[in-house]
Symmetry: C2
Subunit: 594 residues, 2 copies
């Protein structure tokens, strides 16, 4: 582990090198290494070449392979969103131009002069108003900022950067990425809970609130805009630029969130036939929404698939690239609405399922967003019930975020604290306490001595979330006549989908059990898809194609859904043949290794 | 006169049938009539067939021709703006459509459904927001309101009318016409002084005010918008409709007024090379301007020709039709900025000249707009100095409007109260009084005993205005190698250009002296051109062509301008050969008859 870290390969570790968490698995290709320790005993019957980095000393030259699943995934976010600088083709482009000076012989208006010099077609109205002084202030030597064929700004030729804003508008969490459109790099990432949350955790409560009268819808719109404007402000401050340097904003989110963002009525989405106000992508002016960017900035919303399958799913698909690969694949977006996409030879199908906010750390006793002090990774010693955890920023624990919840439940299963029905077993250990009427398992002593725990009802909420997601996967597979084994790849997306440990997610039965080499964590696909659409006009075109060719499936219309959902609430599943390795790991009290 | 009135032909008359004002001239074609009276003596040497209607009794069957110049011109306004209902082709159109109801098999979004049914391309963003409830409220049976290919509204199929607003944005006066776009009829006309007038009478003062900082420009924009919003409110109340029934607004005005309306900087218009921020027509959303019409309404501005020749001139040309006739013609727009257009075989040339607000009744001792109580028509008995006048609405006189001023000055010249230099002659008559330091001629005892008069400095102001206009005419003619006699037609436009008596305008030397058959009064061409653009897409295209093919001439760049201007301040002109009949009329103390 030390050698790997010195080589710049950041390997996962929660238990601090005690051989408990099994997150530092590496594959030995060749070379001289120390003998396996007792902590590694369970690995032997899987593969001789698997070792725990924390237990293995390097004795001579050796070659080891660090699988993606053992790497600290935090960095992946940035990698995935990226496009080669050479392949950047943002809608926002810059053009240097020196205009001919007006004279008595050439009395063309300022706007004609500019359009002609740039071979552009239109000038944003807000720019038009200030164009005379802007052009004269820079003495006719302009760097023009264009959105396709519309001029948004003229600035001095100073090589100033231009920025775009990509926003994943989640029901629970909003993540904003500030992107340098010259370099293609994300220069700041800011997130917060969606300010609409005061009017309900899920989309249905908010639709009902908006139904009361149009003012309520306007209020919901103002709330999400306030959240976004705050994130923008933080992002530009972090990046040392100004909101006026931001010329485009791209939004991905579910259909209801996109409707609220635009202030469009959602009344018809909630009941059959679930009709949204719009599905196509919109191009608006940021100022029309009340977004505080450059006064001429353009807003783009990713196209939607249906009332319940939104632009976040389109973005996920875009980022995964699954639409371009000729193989059976599944995409799972873990969020308040869990979305599942199946691509097979028969087409691409998508379904949405109400998982609730538990996976985003909201609605749990000690749940919190993935911010400093959140327990994001957990491991439990199956013998001593000692808990190892890591918090974001290595701060004192303040709560648990989504990936920490999944880890906790998985470890509680492995260590026998939870049974397959999700009941906390009556063990006589100090960490099992009573909180009010119910049992709770204490993970840590947090800030100010406050205990951070998972309660029995937290587990219940989690069961509903994971059952919603897995039963959706299963139904789509069945519709296509496929089984889990037929999948070449499973993409995990979601605001916290990058941090989650897929082995924990399999242990609890949330995602299909497959070798970890087939699992690709794309992180916040919704946000990165929005980033891609900022960086490339082609990505926008692809998004249109994806939205047009993906068919939305209404799970509620499928008879078996209810039964499948109930079966999936069991850990890992009522039909353990779907999770043979997870079931064995739980039985053998040893972390799942795949 | 009685016979004519009974036949529905409203003949002009100011002196009340005393044979003084000579405004009721008719041409006898055949028939038996009474002998000419003394009042008609001067007509004989012009033509045997000319008679004054007020002096002529019909003895047997007779045929008389009433020239345009003798008709009460008030009605012409409405006639000129009109287009045959069959030829209406407004950008705003209505389409009845019944949409397929959504079902589980047809989950298209509301906007897709509507666009598909209408074969339209776009939905206004503000409509989009409310589309779901609007469509369901009308049970999918919609009357759609479209602007070209954009849907602006869906309404119940109730045959409700749709309206457009045409506005002449003058430097001094703003006139708003509410137009029923189904019938093509103007249903209300409202006017007021431009609210910007507190920051100066002329465009230069306002440009200087706007130059101070951008807030000042924003203030000027707010002021003109407040004026317009007030007029709109009055107009819809008058017509019994609502602002939400108004879907398009078309604006014509000079370049500076159009820039202020749009909030665009005017700094570069004021000095050489006089470059405006834009010249092409603009299409904006009314809400972006802050205009209180339907929330999805579209604003169209007529294209501009140059920094000093604006959309009002384009509109004038459009209304006159001079661009389509193969003859030499001159168009004179009488306003704060007098504009002159000359069309000849060598092309079309336009010039603007600062006449000041005198012709619009502003800036004179007793000047007022053409509203109730304004003296609009004047006649003076050359022997008794008795003054005959008519006020708008036949109310007690409150002041003098533009046409009344021109009549007054002409009559004061004819009756010898003014000399050719514009000096009030020292006559011992009760109507010649002193007001402060100067002489004044009293026209009437007005409301509350307040005298309505023309002062010496009013005359001076008027001289500058008429000289500005006539010298512009002369210079354009000279540029084209033409003389007054080469003109087939002279069009008189301007907010008060319909009410003016062309014979008075010739007597004072404001417009070229020509037979009145060659004079065509088109009224408020700027306003009617805007009306035409509302009623016909082709008119909008024509406007573009006119703007592109009319060349603006900068009079200040012509050497002789200053001298010509000074010569033209003389009544009727320093070179009396330009106004032989006017000069003789003045000398003979008899009204000009042509």
């Amino acid at each position: 582990m030390t050698a790997l870290r010195e080589a710049g390969v950041n390997v996962e570790s929660v238990c601090g090198g005690h051989g408990v968490c099994k997150k530092c698995l590496v594959e030995v290709v060749s070379g001289e290494l120390s003998e396996p320790t007792l902590a590694e005993a369970e690995l032997e019957h899987i593969s001789k070449s698997l070792r725990l980095a924390c237990q293995t000393r390097v004795i001579g030259d050796a070659v080891v392979n660090v699988p993606q699943s053992s790497r600290q995934t935090r960095g992946k976010i940035l990698e995935w969103g990226r496009i080669d600088e050479s392949k950047l083709s943002p809608s926002i482009r810059l053009a240097n131009v020196e205009l001919e000076r007006p004279s008595l012989r050439d009395q063309r208006s300022d706007s004609e002069r500019l359009l002609h010099a740039l071979n552009a077609e239109a000038i944003d109205y807000f720019l038009l108003k200030r164009l005379p002084s802007k052009l004269r202030d820079i003495d006719w030597k302009a760097e023009a900022v264009l959105y396709d064929c519309e001029v948004l700004d003229v600035r001095p030729q100073e090589n100033r950067d231009v920025y775009g804003l990509a926003v994943d508008v989640g029901t629970t969490t909003v993540v904003a990425y500030l992107v340098n459109l010259k370099t293609g790099r994300i220069v700041a990432t800011k997130s917060d809970y969606n300010g609409q949350i005061v009017h309900g955790d899920d989309v249905i409560s908010r639709i009902n609130y908006a139904l009361k009268d149009y003012d309520k819808l306007v209020e919901l719109q103002s709330r999400i805009l306030a959240t976004i404007n705050k994130l923008v402000q933080e992002a530009v401050e972090g990046a040392g630029c100004s909101t006026s340097d931001v010329y485009e904003a791209s939004f991905a989110g579910n259909t209801v969130m996109m409707s609220f963002l635009c202030g469009a009525e959602t009344s018809a989405i909630a009941s059959a036939p679930y009709v949204p106000p719009f599905r196509s992508s919109l191009r608006l002016k940021a100022r029309d929404l009340g977004l505080k960017l450059n006064s001429s900035a353009v807003v783009y919303t990713l196209p939607l698939i249906s009332g319940y399958v939104g632009g976040d799913v389109v973005a996920d698909i875009l980022v995964s690239g699954m639409h371009k690969r000729d193989e059976n694949s599944l995409l799972i977006d873990l969020g308040t609405n869990g979305e599942v996409v199946l691509k097979s030879g028969n087409g691409t199908f998508a379904a949405s399922t109400a998982a609730g906010p538990a996976l985003e750390g909201a609605g749990l006793s000690n749940g919190m967003r993935g911010m400093e002090g959140a327990i994001e990774s957990v491991s439990i010693d199956t013998k001593t019930y000692e808990v190892y955890y890591r918090t974001i920023g290595d701060k004192e624990p303040r709560g648990i975020c989504g990936s920490g919840v999944v880890d906790s439940i998985a470890c509680m299963l492995i260590s026998g604290i939870l049974d397959s029905k999700g009941r906390m077993v009556d063990l006589n250990i100090p960490r099992l306490v009573r909180v009010g009427e119910e049992r709770a398992f204490v993970l840590a002593d947090g800030e100010g001595g406050r205990k951070v725990y998972i309660s029995q009802s937290d587990v219940r909420r989690f069961q509903l979330a994971k059952a919603a997601i897995f039963s959706a996967c299963l139904l789509l597979l069945r519709m296509a006549g496929l089984s889990v084994r037929d999948l070449s790849r499973v993409y995990i997306a979601g605001a916290f989908g990058n941090y989650i440990d897929p082995r924990s997610a399999m242990t609890v039965g949330m995602i299909p059990e497959l070798p970890s080499s087939k699992i690709v964590q794309i992180g916040n696909g919704s946000g990165y898809g929005a980033v891609m659409s900022l960086l490339s006009r082609e990505a926008k075109e692809e998004a249109e194609l994806v939205a047009r060719t993906t068919k939305a499936i209404d799970l509620n219309a499928i008879r078996e859904f209810q039964k499948e959902f109930i079966d999936a609430t069991v850990f890992p599943h009522k039909r353990i043949e779907l999770f043979p390795n997870a079931a064995r790991a739980i039985e053998e009290k040893t972390p799942l290794v795949l």
